[in-house]
Amino acid sequence: MSGLSFVLKDMLHDRSRVALSVIGMGVVIGGYFILAALSGALSGVLETTSISRNLIVIQNDMIDPSDAILEAHIIQAVQELMPGTVSRISPTVFRHTRVGGQVVQLRAAALEDWQPVHHLKLIEGAWPAHDREVVIGEGLAQSNDWQVGSSVQIFGSDFSISGICRSPGIAFATVWMPIDTFWALFDTNHHYQGLFVQAALGVDPDVLKTRLQNDPRLVDHYAVYFEDNYSRQNIRGVQDMSSLMRLVSGVALLGIVFGVYNATTLSLAEHTRELGILLGIGFSHARLRGLLWVRSLLQALLAFGVGLVAALIYLHAQQSSGPLVILGVPFSMQFTPWMGLSGLAWVSGLAFLGAWLSTRRMFNLRVVELLR
């Protein structure tokens, strides 16, 4: 306890230098948390699973679903499995389009399928009841500051937002439109593009998937995916960015080692006489080194607190302006307790490494030389 109070008094005495070290390391730690939250948001989208276990049937060589065509005999093939094996189906169309200057995915399906098949949950407003009404995902609403009743231009026509919804699984910056509205707007010969299939109660979706995949009418030209696997495959590119962010955040944390090393080395250089006196009155080298380690750790913990608070403020400010939306996928950056705990472990470990590196030659110190 006396050692700790000694260290605290020393830090208080050296407060301006300690403050500079803490600020420098705090910013590094804050940067680490922001990058970790970003990496978590990117990889979190890829790891998201939904409870629906919906299957989607789509042409097997189409990256962009809006280019696909769902032929009538495919719908027929799946309908034949109703109601015993398949409980519901929902033929759907997709369009990537720009709304409010942002690329969004426009989806259209029969309104009665939105809740039971697509599991949309209305969180504000109402489902479309009139022509020229759409429902939008909450991420899209937040990032554009759109409210129920706001007007948006889609494909050259003005639409009113009747409601804001939440969807399970991988969320896209999505605009949902009743299918009749879509046909009227796009006039695409009523070609559906994908078929959402819901397995009947008690039917294993994996078994249903295999059965559909082996259906001779589908086998060569159509693929059957779990809905989230399909979405995940289409945004695989963000994994590269997530890995890069993780790498950069790890490299940034090395700043802790450097910060602690510099602070401790300079303290040793500045306090040679004090060290000599302490050694002279009976402090052992090991005890002195221990005190320096405690000092370094305390500085790192203070910096951790500063960095954590700064990152939380920044993330809160980011969240209040809506999620990041890249290529139609909203990424919501969130700070998790796990991030905090792993960050604390890293900071403590790296601070210890920096302190050890700077004090490893301490046993060579001689009182006479220090007091000279």
């Binding site: 695989r236 950069v248 300079l266 920044y314």
Partner: protein
């Protein structure tokens, strides 16, 4: 010169400290460098604005990548308006997974060269009168797939013989070009097309619309939209790298201040024999500049290694780090900013003290 030698000598005396500070300065500089390189890669590949041509596409689409489809009758409308050139094209992404996805462009063999400047890297271009199932590959795609003229590329399960490899210097170097007729047959589009390229300054202007929710935009608009899509992401990373730079400046300032304090007696002697306040600033500036310059070199090397090892690729659209003169200059200026910010605080502090009085007191 004496004071500069003293500055260098002091750094050499504390070489481990200087080395560690160099590493600490190298980290934000590497992040900034890498970020600027990715932004430059994105902008140089996608933000190409063509002044001479307009693009006719379905409203709200990214017609130069995917998502636009229109009837051939739109072309008749354009020709009826008296345009000197109407070039139909198909743009879409094909493949079975994002890993093997390719940007496909269907082009009319007689007119495509009039709206897109390209340079043949090897082989020959597609020409009017060519037989079906021939393709030209963008240089980046050819390099990625290791294909040469005479090889075969599969597009939607069909074999196409590569006749030539071209380079445009934009995202088009990731594309495979086939004849418009082949593309229409491949996609089952009949006579539909994705876009029409028309000359700027004739019957239509940017922002005009046509019946059937068709918009006229500047050629290159889709690329600009793609760049805009990534902006929030880069903005956030810029905030982080600037914050790391500020932290580095604080750390640099703290170290220079403390090193100067350790040298206060020598500096006081120099001041008392006639060296001015500017000499002290030069002393700190030299130390700060040397550390940041070494950090800049380390950061640049780190960023180039990371940039070479990583590329972001999604559905045929890739972003690669580009280390051009502008990126190097911007990163160098960022390094200088760190150096100046890190030096100014200890310089101000050191000049506040009357070092000779301090020397006498001690």
């Amino acid at each position: 010169m004496t004071i500069l030698r003293l500055g260098i000598g002091e750094l050499l005396h504390h070489k481990r400290l200087a080395l560690v500070m160099t590493l600490a300065a190298g980290i934000p500089l590497m992040v900034y460098f890498l970020l600027s390189a990715y932004q430059a890669g994105l902008e140089s590949r996608y933000a190409e604005r063509y002044e001479d041509f307009l693009l006719v596409q379905t409203s709200g689409s990214l017609g130069e990548f995917y998502g636009s489809r229109m009837l051939a009758s739109v072309g008749d409308t354009l020709r009826a308006a008296g345009l000197s050139l109407v070039v139909p094209e198909i743009h879409t992404v094909v493949g079975t997974t994002t890993e093997n996805a390719v940007l496909l462009r269907g082009i009319p063999l007689d007119t495509y060269a009039r709206v897109e400047e390209y340079k043949m890297v090897s082989g020959r271009p597609l020409m009017a009168g060519d037989t079906p199932r021939l393709a030209m590959l963008g240089a980046r795609l050819a390099e990625e797939r290791q294909l040469l003229p005479g090889d075969v590329i599969q597009v939607r399960g069909r074999d196409f013989q590569v006749v030539g490899i071209f380079d445009v210097g934009t995202y088009a170097s990731n594309e495979v070009w086939i004849s418009l007729a082949d593309a229409q047959a491949l996609l089952g589009w009949g006579t539909d097309v994705s876009v029409y390229v028309i000359p700027n300054g004739e019957a239509f202007r940017e922002g005009d619309t046509l019946p059937g929710r068709i918009s006229i935009v500047r050629k290159g608009d889709s690329g600009a939209a793609m760049v805009a899509e990534w902006q929030p992401f880069f903005r956030l990373l810029t905030h982080v790298s600037v914050a790391l730079g500020a932290a580095s400046a604080v750390a640099l300032g703290s170290i220079l201040w403390r090193l100067a304090w350790l040298q206060r007696r020598e500096l006081a002697i120099l001041r008392s024999i006639g060296f001015g306040k500017r000499s002290l600033v030069a002393y700190l500036l030299l130390q700060g500049s040397l550390i940041t310059l070494a950090g800049f070199i380390l950061g640049a090397v780190g960023a180039m290694v990371l940039g070479r090892l990583s590329a972001v690729k999604a559905a045929g659209i890739s972003i690669q780090a580009v280390f051009d003169g502008q990126v190097i200059l911007a990163s160098f200026l960022f390094a200088m900013l760190i150096s100046l910010a890190g030096t100014s605080l200890p310089a101000w502090w050191l000049n506040r003290f009357n070092l000779t009085m301090l020397l006498r007191a001690e």
